[in-house]
């Protein structure tokens, strides 16, 4: 079912945690709310669940306003970060609790529990109490409790953050698979960009109570809407160098080096920039490193070399700037070695020096 946030504001005392949030989650979509802690993503999710009231604005589920509804009337389900399993109930009782509330007959409850337990491979745990389960098993039980009825919307609040790295990767895949099988509209909150990139149909990046960008993982990665998104997504982070548009020489001036631009570009930039300042963004994998100078190359010096096996992360000092590049492991680089950098022009990102919004 479609979910819509309309002009939502939320204040906790003097803290304005959500500012004019407009967001639509399409029917059947897997939407990830991504952002650092304190960005308002959890608050947005909890409002959708009805656990928090917006200060102003309206939330719709399936076109119906739900802002004033109690959680129980919204027909949503939610997996909590701490799983929130009922400690005094067995796994079976936990999973079937939502059905019990809805007075589903016992035989049907049993059947549904068996079905869901089979999907989640927890069939042999049904009689246990939550404290006898491992972290991964608890996670599955929490999922089971959310999925046993067909909710309108399925919410997850950092459900994987308490698992170890290996299990997290595994559950990531499982959740994605479950989603594509059940097709329930899902909203998933995380601060982990890998989870967001691998699981989402679309990602909503939030920061400081603002929605920064809402787009597919691909678009977010390749066309970040602003400098924040560019820097937040991607590891190692995007290089961002501050410079000025120099109309006279038809180039971008970064102090120790310049990048020439053609007439067409110059016109666009002149029109779009709020001032003269500009941020140039370039991802580490789009920086080429050579041991010999080439046309338009920038001279620099190797600062740190971090081999990762299949690639090497190299931090290079060029003038006053620090630039991270990913290079092939067969390129023999040493500390303090002189190198020459070139940027892949197709992959350059330009952000306004003041507003930090994408220019082109």
């Amino acid at each position: 079912m479609q979910v819509r946030y309309e002009n939502i504001n939320k204040k906790f005392g003097n803290v304005h945690v959500l500012k004019n949030l407009h967001l639509t989650v399409n029917d059947g979509e897997f939407l990830v709310l991504l952002g650092p802690s304190g960005c308002g993503k959890s608050t947005a999710l909890r409002m959708l669940a009805g656990l928090e009231n917006p200060t102003s604005g309206e939330i719709y589920i399936g076109g119906q306003p739900v802002t004033d509804m109690d959680p129980k009337d919204r027909d949503i389900s939610m997996v909590f970060q701490s799983y929130a399993l009922y400690p005094h109930m067995s796994v079976f009782e936990n999973i079937t609790y939502p059905l019990k509330i809805r007075k589903v007959p016992k035989a049907e409850r049993k059947k549904k529990a068996d079905d869901i337990a089979e999907i989640l491979e927890i069939g042999d745990l049904l009689k246990r109490k939550p404290k006898e389960l491992s972290g991964g098993q608890r996670q599955r039980v929490a999922l089971g409790r959310s999925l046993i009825r067909q909710p309108n919307v399925f919410l997850m609040d950092e459900p994987l953050s308490n698992l170890d790295a290996k299990l997290r990767v595994h559950m990531r895949g499982e959740i994605k698979r479950l989603h594509s099988e059940l097709g329930i509209t899902s909203v998933y909150v995380t601060h982990d960009q890998t989870e967001a990139m691998t699981m989402a149909d679309r990602i909503a990046i939030m920061e400081g109570g603002h929605l920064q960008q809402l787009a597919s993982p691909d678009e977010i990665y390749h066309q970040p809407a602003n400098r924040y998104v560019g820097g937040f997504i991607g590891s190692p982070a995007m290089n961002s160098v501050k410079g000025r548009l120099n109309v006279k020489t038809a180039s971008l001036d970064f102090g120790t080096f310049t990048i020439p631009i053609d007439q067409e570009w110059q016109e666009i930039l002149e029109k779009r920039l709020s001032g003269q300042d500009i941020y140039l963004g370039i991802r580490p994998e789009n920086v080429r490193v050579a041991t010999k100078p080439a046309e338009n190359s920038i001279k620099g010096e190797v600062y740190v070399v971090e081999p990762l096996g299949k690639e090497v992360i190299t931090i290079i000092r060029a003038g006053g700037h620090t630039i991270v590049a990913i290079v092939e492991p067969d390129l023999p680089l040493k500390m303090n070695q002189k190198v020459w950098l070139t940027f892949d022009e197709q992959k350059l990102h330009m952000f306004d020096g003041k507003t930090e919004e994408k220019v082109v």
């Binding site: 009231n53 306003p65 802002t67 004033d68 109690d70």
Partner: protein, 315 residues
């Protein structure tokens, strides 16, 4: 439909929504208050009302039959302030409080340090050590009255059997006062012990390991690490014990009835006597208000102290 009427309908529907929202808002947000209502109203009736009533009473004159016979102005307060027995009693109470609280805190902390080690014997010991504070102060008073009896008390029996002279514990001003304190220490050291123990068991371990590596002696560790870390918890014990000691009544009632003379006439007992024996409710309530002020001031000071240690870190 004209543009205007369209605008009209849209505003009216949004007003509807708003009203609806307000109703729900109140329904949702009043629940916490409904839950609190019974408690608050009972407490208001049982504390604020009597307090207000006793303010009224403290300005009334009472005859010897305990009947209010008219407005007395601040005369009751003047009577209290000019009464030697009141100041005597206040002095005794404060001396008593300072004495027992100091002894109980030190003993309690020492005991806690002795049994903080975790093993089976210790867990039984802990249970034994906290029994006194669960008992009725009245029963404790009776037992000590039996043991301290001048003629057939076991304490005097033991003293004389090792060649010491018998003491009339409750018949002599100084020993009566000390006996009351002894009973308090016996009964309430466990409270300080218990709180200190809980504090000790929740202390982080790394400062100890670091101090040991730094070569600190046991005594230095106690002085430089344990006690500073334990300070907030110790202040809690201090506050609770001080409040209780200031209002102590039961033991004096059983053991000495304030005597001999007025040697153990703590403030609660003095006011009890004024109210019950002499029906001078005006005098009693006026005196109690002054005691209340002292109690509140003392507790405010101690709570400030507590807040300061919490702000500067504590643990």
């Amino acid at each position: 439909m004209s543009k205007e009427s369209l605008a009209d309908t849209s505003t009216s529907s949004s007003v509807q929504l708003r009203n609806n929202k307000n109703k729900r808002f109140f329904k949702k947000n009043l629940l916490p208050y409904w839950l609190l209502l019974p408690t608050i109203s009972i407490l208001a009736v049982l504390t604020i009302f009597p307090l207000a009533y006793s303010i009224y009473v403290s300005f009334q004159r009472f005859n010897t039959f305990g009947e209010a016979v008219g407005f007395h102005g601040v005369n009751n307060y003047a009577d209290v302030i000019s009464s030697i027995t009141f100041w005597n009693s206040l002095g005794i109470t404060l001396l008593y409080t300072a004495g027992v609280v100091a002894v109980e805190m030190v003993l309690g902390l020492a005991l806690a340090l002795m049994v903080s080690k975790e093993n089976k014997v210790m867990s039984y010991l802990r249970w034994i050590l906290i029994i006194p504070m669960m008992l009725s102060p009245l029963v404790v008073g009776i037992v000590f009255r039996l043991m301290l009896n001048a003629d057939f008390g076991i304490v005097n029996y033991m003293l004389t059997s090792i060649g010491l002279p018998a003491v009339d514990f409750l018949g002599n001003s100084l020993t009566a006062f000390l006996s009351i304190m002894l009973v308090d220490v016996w009964q309430w050291t466990p409270m300080c012990f218990l709180i200190a123990l809980a504090g000790l068991q929740s202390l982080p371990q790394d400062p100890y390991e670091a101090a040991r590596l730094d070569g600190a002696s046991k005594w230095q560790i106690l002085r430089d690490i344990t006690i500073p870390l334990l300070k907030p918890v110790l202040i809690v014990a201090l506050v609770i014990r001080t409040m209780d000691a200031l209002r102590m009544f039961d033991q004096v009632f059983v053991l000495t009835q304030g005597g001999p003379g007025r040697a153990t006439e703590v403030i609660s007992f003095l006011m009890y006597r004024a109210a019950m024996r002499f029906s001078d409710f005006g005098f009693a309530t006026a005196g109690l208000f002054m005691v209340l002020v002292v109690t509140i001031l003392l507790s405010l000071i101690m709570i400030k102290l507590l807040n300061r240690t919490e702000k500067t870190g504590g643990y």
